[in-house]
Subunit: 208 residues, 2 copies
DNA sequence: GTCTATATTGCGATAGAC
DNA sequence: GTCTATCGCAATATAGAC
């Protein structure tokens, strides 16, 4: 018995997470997964009931932080509009750092939804959108944010500026546009631009 | 002879563009393409030398506007920094309207590059990045843009805010966040936020 | 729980009739 | 230029040995 050795099912999940993220569901074979996991072709059916069952198990693990994020979001509805948006920005960055492959599964499920992924993503998306739209609405009503903004487009713009970076990061590293990317620095830089962009241009100096 | 009928190869390209965009290269079979194009399995090999040759032909057609955009970019280096960024924003919107599947191929090629797509995208990306970075740099030096911005992250933020919307649009329509999306309106709303976000907070009123 | 061997299906590609 | 028939291969899934 090898104490260090991972249990086969967890090893299969870890290996297939990378393969599914990098090549897509259809392009990965269970043979490939088995070999990379030092197992055999029948293991995937034995533990997960087939290739589709394995994919579902992978998605379940990947989407956990999204499900948790919905809870946090509900707990933060009493903050100021600006603080709520800032809280969202920090969370996006944290979640992507926790799960480096998550952005690939989210994009992949957006382009070609599978039943399980579709359900999670759509529920998550609706909750996040409602949170952002309400925060923007409150900020406009309290005179902090510009009143000439389209709320839907402005909410989408925040999600865009925060998420797209994590999708594009591997490509930007490849072409040397990003050499040593610091996720928190990007998020902070992007959120500062966005926040100044939606605030009313008051003409008073601000402390920072 | 049927005058209205499309030539078979063009019909195959049109059908397979949609299929490749929606399902990905590996998940589409030449049998499926042939049937949807009212042709037969041997047509793909006959006209394009196989499935890979067909995919390359599809990418070539999809990426044409990107190649053209590089020419326009070079012609607009004499404009003011702000005008150059605005020119870029309009072009992104135009290109995606021309080619509704383009964003899917760009994302797909970013996640899982194929040799042909990789070459085009990387070249395009480098040119666009250099254009944006130079425009931002010029704007900072001439005192129009804030000097506390990281140029790389700020350039990525503009590309993010303008492009991600087109990637997410189908999903946002599905969950009824976008009901009747107007691409030009989104682009204008997003670019105004971004521009105010990177400009120096002068405390003088601006005409608009 | 893990393996080998195998059944079955569907793939891309092509030869050859028309 | 378009079709059918078929070859060879690789896929998933499973039966059954250990």
């Amino acid at each position: 018995m090898n104490i260090i050795k991972k249990y086969t099912p967890q090893k299969i999940i870890d290996i297939s997470t990378r393969l599914f993220a990098e090549k897509g569901f259809a392009a990965v074979s269970v043979r490939e997964i088995s070999m990379d996991a030092d197992s055999n072709v029948s293991a995937v059916s034995y533990y997960f009931g087939g290739k589709s069952g394995l994919y579902k198990a992978v998605l379940e693990e990947q989407f956990l932080p999204l499900i948790e994020a919905m809870v946090y979001i509900k707990e933060n509805e009493q903050l100021l509009p600006e603080e709520r948006l800032s809280f969202y920005a920090e969370n996006v960055s944290k979640i992507h750092s926790q799960r480096p492959y998550l952005s690939k599964f989210m994009i992949s499920e957006s382009l070609k939804p599978t039943p399980y992924g579709k359900e999670i993503i759509e529920k998550h998306l609706s909750q996040v959108y409602n949170f952002l739209a309400k925060s923007l609405q409150d900020g406009i009503q309290s005179g902090v944010f510009r009143d000439d903004l389209d709320i839907t487009y402005t909410a989408v713009a925040l999600a865009s500026i925060l998420n797209f970076y994590f999708v594009a990061k591997p490509l930007l590293k490849n072409v040397k546009i990003l050499e040593n990317p610091q996720d928190e620095d990007y998020t902070q830089n992007a959120f500062r631009i966005y926040l100044q962009g939606i605030k009313i241009d008051k003409s008073m100096n601000e402390g920072m």
